[in-house]
Amino acid sequence: MKTTEPSAVAPGKSSKPSTLITPLLAVLLILSVAFVTKAQDSRIQLSSLDHLAAKASQTVDVNIDERLVKIAARAFSDKDIDEKKIKDLLTGVKGVYVKSFEFETDGQYSPADVESIRSQLRGPGWSRLVGVTSKKDGNVEVYLLFQGEQVAGLAVLHTDNRELTVVNIVGPVDLDKLANLEGQLGIPDLEIERKPKTKSN
């Protein structure tokens, strides 16, 4: 005797679409999450500083994401020595992000503002470089993100009584590269110098 189970699928309709959509969406979701996580490993979140723009005498926000890096690679010529230099420096770089605030009086940003950045730089893989100084007034902290032996990102935190600047370069980069990019692409000239080659965590 043949029995039939009650089914939600109407006669003449296939259940194939709904059974396909769920795993397809799941795979897409997993892939996109994995991609975003990998790509943003060395990108630090700077939006916690956005509120400072309302009281800063000067706010600079540079946002060179991967799309712009690719455009820059097309824009810079191999024939022009300066442009080729920048093009080479950008090789492998996935993003350059800068937020800089200047204030007319002291104490306009709080320790919590700085901590919102430092706390990210205490995360796995990040190491602070010691022996780094700047010709500019104030305090400069430089951090590198290591993935194995490879550098996967760099962050610079410059604090002064009336200034707060964060530079974040996503991708393989070192201090020499940063020094060459200073003053280009909207990256401020922090005049960073490295003295002894020491690394600490």
């Binding site: 956005d50 309302a54 009281k55 000067q58 926000d61 455009i71 097309r74």
Partner: protein, 181 residues
């Protein structure tokens, strides 16, 4: 023959995506001008001014071609809206958020500078346009504002990328100098 819901779903998603991109890319220049007008309750200069500016483009282009000054914008590519002697009172952080939300689908923000003390705002967005590049420069001060859209060659885009602030100012100057002659 019945179309499967799966196909309909995919087609609908594709249509929604295409229509949103087309709408956003259609005329972002006018959208930005309208956004400034609505946010700040101001009005940009009317057609007579723009017509006059358009007529002077040719002479300016000729002058620049013969002189030392470098012309950044591709010929005929300038779109310009000017706001003069009006009050731009408003929370610029809110304006910035609205602007970025409106343009983030089709434009890439390059640099944004703001000043709480002078109320000056500068925004530079860009996007690819075939083998050239569209650049949108928005400058808002306490009493005046300009919105400029130009097309740049690869070479001039390199200048913009190297020095976004300086070249952005030059693009605005180049577009607005036309009226000052």
């Amino acid at each position: 023959m019945r179309t499967s819901p799966y196909k309909i779903f995919i087609v609908l998603i594709a249509l929604m995506f295409i229509s949103s991109v087309v709408e956003a890319k259609g005329d972002d220049f006018n959208s930005v001008v309208k956004m400034i007008e609505q946010f700040y309750g101001v009005k940009h200069e009317g057609i007579p001014f723009l017509a006059k500016a358009g007529m002077k483009v040719a002479t300016t282009a000729a002058r620049i071609k013969g002189g030392d000054a470098r012309r950044l914008a591709e010929a005929g590519s300038i779109k310009l809206a000017v706001f003069e002697n009006q009050n731009f009172d408003g929370d610029f952080t809110k304006f910035r958020t609205s602007l970025n939300e409106a343009l983030n689908t089709t434009w890439i923000p390059l640099i944004q500078t703001l000043s709480a003390s002078t109320q000056e705002q500068n925004y530079i967005f860009l996007r690819e346009a075939g083998d050239k590049f569209n650049v949108l420069v928005i400058t808002i001060g306490e009493r005046e504002a300009t919105v400029v859209q130009v097309t740049l060659s690869r070479k001039n885009l390199a200048l913009l990328m190297k020095d976004p602030e300086g070249t952005g100012k030059s693009i605005t100057q180049e577009a607005t100098i036309i009226d000052q002659e």
